[in-house]
Each structure stands twice: as C-alpha cells, then as structure tokens.
Amino acid sequence: MIFGLSVVFVLTSILTVAGALAAALLKNLVHCALSLTVTFAGLALLYLQLDAQFAGFSQILVYIGAVAILVVFAILLTRGSGIPEYRSYSSSWLAGVAIAAGVFALLAWAVVTSLPASPASAAPQVSVQQIGQALMSGYVLPLEIVAVLLTVALIGAVIVAMPEASKGDAK
C-alpha cells in the first residue's frame, strides 16, 4: 500500500501512462501502435480492478484483438513503417503540448478539490446474466442503434477504402 494506493493499481497505471507516452514520442509508427496496445492492456487491467469484468474482457477483445491490428494494417498500407519522409512533429508542437498540459491541470484541479474521500462501497457482484438482462430490458434501444451503427460503419469503411478504379469516376 504505497501512500494510500494499492500496489497493483500503481503498477498498472504506470504501465498505461508509459504506453501512452511511448505512443506519443516514438518515431517508428509500428512501435507507436504496439505501445498503444500496451496502453489498451493497462486500461483493461484497470477495468478489472474496478470489478468491471465484462468491460475489461470486451476491451481486450475489441481493442487489442481488432483495433490494434487495424491500426497496424493502416500503417503498413500507407507505407508508414519505413523511415518517415517528413518530420514527425508538426511545427507548432509546443502549443499542442501546452494546451494538453493546461487541460490536464484543469482536470486534476477539478478532481482533487471537488471530490470528498468517498468510502469505497462493497464490490458489486455484477454477473454476466445481469448485464444480459440489462441489455435486453433497459438498454434494448441503444443495443439496436449500436447494431445499426456498426453495420453502417462496416459498409462505410469498406466503400471509403475501396480502390479508386471500382468507384468508376474517371480521373
């Protein structure tokens, strides 16, 4: 118990923040994508610490299983894996970092001042059955909407990324 935080939490948060920083600073794009995966894994562990088992596993399944591979494929398809031909940081990088630091300071100040040290309530026994019931009863409309959205996104992404020729507009 290092100053009020559990050891596991400190380790996972260090892992997550280190992954995120590596994604920001590394030159080689594929290394950025792999450090992104480390961040996703760290976040999944944080979810598990918050007893959100279903969210943690679906995070691993969706993000590490699919999105990370998608990002890496996109990098390879846009020939990003070699030496970047243009400088990897934009000219106004200082302003960007300043804005980000400002946002973080604002959030941190809000968190520290407003929150009373709330007692940790008992770990809710969330079973997958309850989630299923909730999905089917209280959240059935959002479920259908997300289903439609996913299909639309699926078809949209394919059409957007389809090679030029089949679109038929003579260049």
Binding site: V30, Q53, F54, F57, L76, V128
Partner: protein
C-alpha cells in the same frame, strides 16, 4: 459402483485434496496465493508435457498413415524423440537478422506464449479443478485468443523479410476471418447453458437420460456448432488444411522464417498449446468437459475423461493433417465468409428456436431440417464451380 462411494470421489478429487494438503502448511492469509501458484505450476508442467508427447504421436501417426514407421531410433519406439528435439532446439544457435527490429523480434514469441498460457486459466480440467472460475470465462478465453494475432504480426513484421511479412499478413487475415465463426458457434452453447462461465456450461451438460449424457454435441444445433467450432479452431491455430501461413512449399516458413533455436521452439510450443487450449474449449463447450460418456462409467475420475477427450481431439487433428491438402487463400476466405458465417448465424436461430419450442420431438425435426437444408444449399454454392471437366488444351492437339 455408485459415484458417491468415498473412494471414487477421493480418487476423482485427488489433485484438489493434494492442493488443500499442501496449502495447509502455509499461514491462512497466504493460502489462496499458494493454491493459484500450485494450479499454475500444474498447468505449466502438464500441457508442455502433452506437447512433447504430441510431437512424437504426430510424427508416428503421420508415418503410419503414409505406410511408413515413425521415428523409432531415440529411445524405445521413439518415445524420447521430444527430448532429442528439445535439446536440439535449445543448443541451436539463435540467429537474429541484422536488419531485424531486435526488441519486437524478441517480444513476439514471448507475447504468444504468455497469451496462450493465459488461455488455460479458465479451462475446467476436472470437477472443481479450474484455475480461475471467472463469471465471463469464455469471453476471457476469446479475448486472450484475439491477442495472439498481434504476436504473429509482430513476428512477421520485425523479421524484415518478405516471406515472413507475407506469411504474417496471411496468418492475421486468416485468424481474423475465422474468429467470427469461432465466436458465433460458441455463442450457441452459451445461449442454451445460460452462462459464460465454463464451469456452468460443463455442469449444464452433466445430466444423463438412461445411459446417454446430455452433451450438446448430440443435439442438431450442438453438432453443427461443434463442427463449425472445430473447423474454425483449425483455422485459428493455423493447423492442417489451413496451414497456409507457414506453407512450406511457397512461403519458406511463414512468419517464423527468421527465428531459430529457442525462439523457434517457443513458437512451436505456442502453436501446439494454442491447439490444446482450443481443443479443450471445444470439449468444454460441446463434449461435456469432464463428464463421463456413459453413466455406468461414472467411477472414472473427471480429469481422466478430460485428458482422454483431449487425446482424441489431438488424434483427430493429426488425422486431418495426414489427409487434407492445403487450401488456397481465396478458397480459405470464401469458405469463411460464404459458408461458415451464414451457417453459424443460422445455428443461432436454430438454438433460439430449440429453447422456445419446448420439450418434444418437434424441435429436433425443425432443427435438423433447417440445418441440413442450409448445409445442402450453401454447400452447392461453394461447390458450383467445382465441375472440373476434362482438361482442354489450347495449342496441344
């Protein structure tokens, strides 16, 4: 020979009692930790042991299928062959190509083996012999299974070699397109069992009518789900007809071309352990996990049934490897998206109908009719351009 006689239950629970006995030596607050450590040690010892045995059985089995003896030089009947292979792979020089990306090159096999070992955590090997009885155990297994693709990609990309990159691309494309049918065909068992926890699924299949068990594989949707699950599992672990990524003939050794020595052995171990864990899950979902096949055989310990079924599954994988030629990439993709996906979606429909048609033979007829009809139609779609008539030459006479 009723199941409840103390001797048989003790024999069935021998490992659990062993664990409690060892735990009793430790202080109370340390006991759960010791329990899990013992479980992990058991898994890390048992499954690589089965891996060593399988390499010999595979080579001998394939030999026998091709009318030749398998390896019989090292030790009696070639049993010590894995020891020889192990020492060979440990002593072989571990060459890393100069232009390879050293960090990612080293991490790839490590990530693969860690992910595969994690997959064993939720596999119920025997009655209350599961390392982590998670409520969403099946989801955990598929989440971990999904991360093996990443390690395959890391291996292929980091070796900076065209063959391995091609192999990696093929492997990832294959694993992603077969993950969808794999998940959907397992959802069927979850729907009927009503829970994602692997232990509950096995318990849901543990009843007997007369002497026949209530395994899911004996229902129309269960058999279809089992068949789809096994075919998708074959593709997921790059084995037998789907071993396109490391197709020796065209792509040298696929994504682990640039690996040698111990790292190659790790990949080899990872692939085989992936095969065991996915076969274990096929057994858990459809073949009644550690349940006995006949009620009169109830006295045999539960873990013995699990490992017996696992060896039957391994024999089936080897049998397939000895028989089926490798698929082309387009056949592979067509089969996944045009046959497996519609069949597994239909299977969901049949399982739903099965649950709400209630007892009686009507659901049997409906289920099997729908599935057989779909199998015939979809099969004809795939077999349509198979009519390879007599070969006609343009210029030859």
């Amino acid at each position: 020979m009723s199941q409840s006689s103390p001797f048989w239950t003790n024999f069935d629970q021998v490992f659990v009692l062993l664990r409690h006995w060892i735990e009793s030596f430790f202080p109370l607050w340390l006991q759960p930790a010791v329990g899990t450590v013992l479980g992990v040690v058991a898994i890390v010892a048992a499954f690589p042991g089965i891996f060593a045995l399988t390499t010999v059985l595979e080579r001998k089995g394939l030999g026998r299928m091709q009318n030749r003896l398998g390896p019989n030089r090292v030790g009696p009947l070639g049993i010590l062959q894995p020891v020889a292979d192990g020492i060979k792979s440990l002593t072989k020089e571990d060459i890393v190509p100069l232009t390879a990306d050293a960090a990612v090159h080293f991490l790839a096999p490590v990530v693969l083996v860690i992910a595969v070992f994690l997959g064993f955590a939720v596999l119920p090997i025997g009655r209350n012999m599961v390392l982590a009885n998670l409520d969403a155990g099946l989801l955990f297994f598929f989440a971990i299974g999904a991360s093996t693709e990443l390690s395959v990609f890391m291996a292929g990309w980091s070796s900076r070699n065209k063959y391995s990159l091609l192999g990696a691309m093929r492997a990832v494309a294959q694993m992603i397109s077969y993950e969808v049918p794999l998940l959907l065909s397992s959802v069927v068992a979850v729907m009927i069992a009503g829970s994602l926890s692997t232990v509950k699924i096995v318990e849901a299949q543990s009843g007997f009518t007369g002497i026949f068990p209530h395994w899911y594989v004996f229902t129309p949707w269960g058999f279809a789900g089992f068949a789809l699950f096994v075919v998708a599992a074959l593709a997921e672990t790059n084995r037998s007809p789907f071993d396109l990524p490391e197709g020796e003939s065209e792509l040298v050794a696929g994504y682990f071309t640039e690996y040698s020595g111990f790292k190659f052995a790790l990949f080899f171990l990872g692939e085989y352990l992936g095969m065991f864990s996915i076969a274990g899950f096929a057994i858990t979902l459809f073949l009644g996990g550690w349940g006995a096949p006949l009620s009169i055989l109830g006295f045999v310990p539960s873990w013995a049934w699990f490992f017996a079924k696992l060896f039957c599954a391994i024999a089936f994988f080897i049998w397939l490897r000895g028989t089926l030629p490798r698929l082309r990439q387009d056949q592979l993709m067509n089969f996944a998206w045009k046959f497996m996906l519609p069949m597994s979606l239909l299977n969901l429909l049949v399982a739903g109908a099965w649950r709400f048609l209630g007892e009686g033979w009507s659901r049997w007829v409906f289920g099997s009719a729908v599935l057989l009809l779909a199998y015939g139609l979809l099969g004809r779609v795939l077999m349509r351009h198979q009519h390879l008539g007599a070969r006609s030459y343009r210029y030859a006479d």
